[in-house]
């Protein structure tokens, strides 16, 4: 591995690592799998590094998110992944539940329970702060599909958020 690609990979990990790891966790509901998926994501990106240049309208972040989502998709197809209970996912974390506000925990649980397709757009749009177009690009789908799924995801969370403030 040459210095140039090491530097780029290191920068990617430093800049996007946490966001990708958390996204993988939300999509997979399992810490160990999320860490593996994060590693695989960067490894795939590193291998395809020289093909990223010049991707039309695609930022590094969008491209990496796309790889992460596809990687998680592959993980979810495995037989083992089907047995993961998303509602228990938070318990696998080291953060004690009491350190989280109850409404945050409910919100996070609701996000984890959400159908994957809706969860993906919610994470990209709200958490990764992508535009609809960027999210569509990351998911390899159309802008209107992203918009539609986002509305459905928002509607599913509305009840949880009603109890909170600053909507």
């Amino acid at each position: 591995m040459n210095d140039e690609s090491t530097q780029l990979l290191t920068r990617w990990v430093e800049q996007f690592g946490n966001a990708i790891l958390r996204t993988c966790f939300l999509l997979l509901g399992d810490r160990q799998q999320a860490e593996d998926a994060m590693q695989d994501t960067f490894l795939k990106a590193w291998k395809a590094m020289n093909r990223f240049e010049g991707r039309d309208g695609c930022t590094e972040k969008t491209w990496l998110m796309r790889i992460a989502i596809n990687t998680c998709r592959d993980y979810r197809r495995s037989r083992w992944a089907r047995h993961i209970d998303a509602t228990q996912a938070l318990d696998t974390l080291a953060v004690p539940a009491e350190q989280m506000q109850p409404d945050e925990r409910w919100l996070l649980s609701d996000i984890l329970r959400m159908p994957t397709a809706l969860k993906q757009v919610l994470i990209l749009y709200y958490y990764q702060q992508m535009t609809l177009d960027e999210a569509a690009q990351a998911l390899g789908t159309s802008r209107s599909t992203v918009h539609r799924r986002l509305k459905r995801a928002e509607a599913l969370l509305r009840d949880t958020l009603k109890g909170g403030e600053g909507l």
């Binding site: 994060m38 490894l43 093909r51 969370l157």
Partner: protein, 702 residues
């Protein structure tokens, strides 16, 4: 909502952090893998091929005159012309090009942190600048570096990636921005004063394209909706106020693309398949040209017209030398934007001149054939009228056993539509299946049309009326519908009583565009419920409306051989979804296009590495690895599972609408359904009774 979601995730998952150890593990893993070699990727090889073709095109420039610069550096993003030099930005670099050169020159590139990735290139006070619209910053390009010279206090406006274009005019930048839920007709013009950063919304609406024009003026291509139909017009606006100064001409819908003006006020565009100059309010063709792919910029250099888009930079001199052969196509827009370009690249010396029309119905086609219009191919929707023309022998036979053989695979519902006896007369280019079309906010999927009316209204009354008639007619098939039947009259009365506005802003077009079926949308096994349409008669299965676009060869075609070659190119590049919809029984899973590229690159990489190390490639192992990739469902755009799903759940419900009852769907003339919708609207407006409505509807049945 964003704040709370972000906070909940970041706080709740704060323990999930990438550690130094994770990074080291990753770096170790990269050492175990094959290193990234400096190789020619497939994309680069393709680009190189394009450049070589471009050079070849230049070599034969005496014939064609059109020069493709290619896009070795990537897709040009933001462009400007100054002192007869084209400047364009690609990624983190700005290039320059002049017509006397075969290659572009890098002006500067940057890798600084926080530099804008999405910015507009412009000349401000005669200095090259990049305006970062998203972060409201102005960067000066000079001495090979980028320097932030101004950071405006507040964001200009909620610009996102759909900022279609930005032009500099007299101390200001005018931005054409499409709102998040808008279509291209909903663009809003913003005026940004570069001195103060103040943003003002300009009053002009329906602007599709714009370019700077003379002093303080903008030239815009605008779409205007009139009672008799939409038109497009070329107008001059005051760049600072947006007020209209003059209307220069009007054009038919979709006919014009790439407006540009030179410093002397001469105006050029690509109109109806020709590069044209506007003279005395009329477009004068200079010569035929194909439409560039996804044009993002059009401008004028002293010796020619230049565009930048998906295919890279294209230069068209104003005075080309002798031209080669021209394949003329008229009709609906190609669903594959790169098709014409691909055909030109594969057939040296051939220009594809496509006159795009918003509609081309069978009647218009018949008139064109009768007038012996010198056109090679027509592209139109297959409906009962078109079918009649095809079966009457009005079109040229397509002598292509390979294309005929493909038609034999098509679903029996459609197969006979493309042949006359044993002769092929049309080749499908695109298939769409429309299904559920309700608003995104509707969470519960209604069971029937009446149930649908209890949900928050998503369409105008007229759109509901159209849906009701359309779905009822299709559900009744193969029988003729009876509009006096209780299933229909109940729905009709429910529609009248429902609290649905006559007009709904933004509702127009929802029904016609609809939600089309996509294999990509079949997610998690339950997405089909969103796509399935709602029936009027709940005792019968609902119907999904299918639509086919076809190419036909004119009997007056000046170039029947080229027309045939074009059909073969089109067929070979048709998208997998259309192929699967046309022939679901024989369709096979299809890999994502990028996976094919990846696999090719992988094989190439392995063989090159082995050759470098002097060892023979283990073809068996390589084949196993490729098989693994090919067999992974995650790598497929269309999976076997989704194909099975479509065959079982959707295909039996698809109605391609080729019967006289549904004729006229593709054009403005004689639509039986349109007439039926009008009758329903009269009932809803209390102009006729329900009984009279049923009678009139039954009388309209052919």
């Amino acid at each position: 909502m964003q704040k709370r979601i972000t906070h909940a995730i970041d706080n709740g998952l704060s323990c999930l952090q990438v550690t130094e150890r994770d990074l080291q593990t990753l770096l170790e893993r990269t050492k175990e893998e094959k290193p990234v070699k400096k190789k020619l990727s497939v994309a680069f090889v393709l680009t190189l091929a394009l450049v070589l073709l471009a050079v070849a095109a230049l070599a034969v420039g005496a014939i064609r005159g059109v020069f493709h610069l290619g896009k070795a550096q990537g897709r040009p993003r933001s462009c400007a012309i100054a002192d007869d030099v084209l400047y364009y930005q690609v990624g983190n670099a700005v290039y320059t090009w002049t017509p006397d050169s075969q290659t572009a020159r890098e002006l500067l590139s940057w890798d600084q942190e926080d530099t804008p990735a999405y910015a507009s290139f412009l000349f401000y006070n005669d200095r090259p600048m990049l305006l970062d619209l998203k972060n409201a910053g102005l960067w000066a390009c000079g001495d090979g570096t980028l320097k932030l010279v101004r950071k405006y206090g507040a964001p200009f406006a909620p610009f996102d990636m759909r900022t279609d274009s930005a032009v500099y005019a007299d101390g200001a930048v005018i931005v054409l921005h499409i709102p998040p839920n808008g279509t291209e007709e909903d663009g809003i013009l913003y005026h940004i004063d570069l001195e103060s950063g103040q943003t003002t919304e300009l009053p002009a609406r329906g602007v599709l394209e714009m370019t700077c024009y003379r002093q303080r003026e903008l030239l815009v291509l605008q779409r205007e909706t009139l009672p008799e139909g939409s038109i497009e017009r070329l107008a001059v606006l005051d760049a600072h106020t947006g007020e209209e100064q003059a209307e220069l001409c009007t054009m038919s819908l979709l006919a014009t693309e790439g407006i540009a003006a030179d410093a002397d006020g001469r105006i050029y565009a690509m109109v109806a398949g020709n590069l044209c100059e506007l003279r005395q309010g009329e477009w004068q063709p200079l010569y035929p040209c194909s439409l560039p792919v996804h044009t993002g910029f059009a401008g004028v250099l002293s010796t020619g017209y230049v565009t930048a888009g998906q295919e890279g930079v294209r230069f068209m001199p104003f005075e080309p030398c002798e031209q080669g052969r021209v394949l003329r196509i008229r009709g609906l827009m190609s669903t594959n934007p790169e098709l014409d370009y691909a055909f030109e690249q594969a057939h040296e010396g051939v220009t594809v001149s496509r006159e795009v029309t918003a509609h081309l119905c069978a009647r218009e086609l018949a008139e064109a054939l009768e007038s012996r219009e010198p056109c090679d191919l027509y592209h139109l929707c297959l409906d009962a009228y078109t079918l009649e023309l095809l079966q009457n022998g009005a079109l040229a036979p397509i002598d292509a056993p390979d294309l005929l053989a493909e038609v034999q695979e098509i679903t029996p519902k459609l197969r006979d539509a493309f042949v006359r006896g044993d002769t092929l007369v049309a080749v499908p280019s695109d298939a769409t299946v429309y299904g559920w079309q309700a608003h995104e906010t509707l969470l519960r999927i209604p069971a029937t049309f009446t149930d649908m009316l209890t949900a928050p209204p998503a369409w105008s009354r007229e759109a509901y009326a159209h849906y009701l008639v359309n779905q009822f007619v299709r559900q009744a098939k193969p029988e003729m519908p009876d509009f006096a039947a209780p299933a229909f009259t109940r729905a009709l009365e429910a529609l009248k009583q429902a609290d649905i506005p006559i007009d709904m802003e933004g509702a127009d077009g929802l029904l016609r565009s609809g939600r089309s079926f996509s294999f990509g949308d079949l997610f998690d096994g339950d997405g089909f419920r969103d796509i399935m349409p709602v029936g009027v008669d709940d005792t019968l299965p609902p119907r999904m409306q299918g639509q086919i676009l076809v190419y036909v060869i004119s009997p007056n075609a000046p170039n029947p051989d080229l027309a045939l070659a074009f059909l073969r190119t089109m067929q070979s590049r048709r998208d997998p979804q259309t192929n699967a919809l046309l022939a679901p029984e024989t369709a096979r899973p299809v890999l994502h296009a990028y996976m094919e590229e990846w696999i090719q690159a992988l094989m190439e990489e392995q063989r090159t590495l082995d050759a470098q190390q002097g060892v023979p490639t283990d073809e068996k192992m390589l084949a196993a690895r490729i098989d693994e990739l090919r067999n992974s469902p995650g790598n497929h755009a269309i999976t076997q599972e989704k194909l099975n799903f479509y065959r079982e759940m959707f295909e039996p419900l698809v109605d391609w609408g080729l019967e006289p009852m549904l004729r006229g769907m593709s054009g403005p003339h004689d639509g039986t359904l349109s007439a039926m919708r009008e009758v329903v609207m009269r009932y809803l407006a209390d102009e006729i009774s329900r009984e009279a409505c049923s009678r009139e509807l039954n009388a309209l049945i052919p």
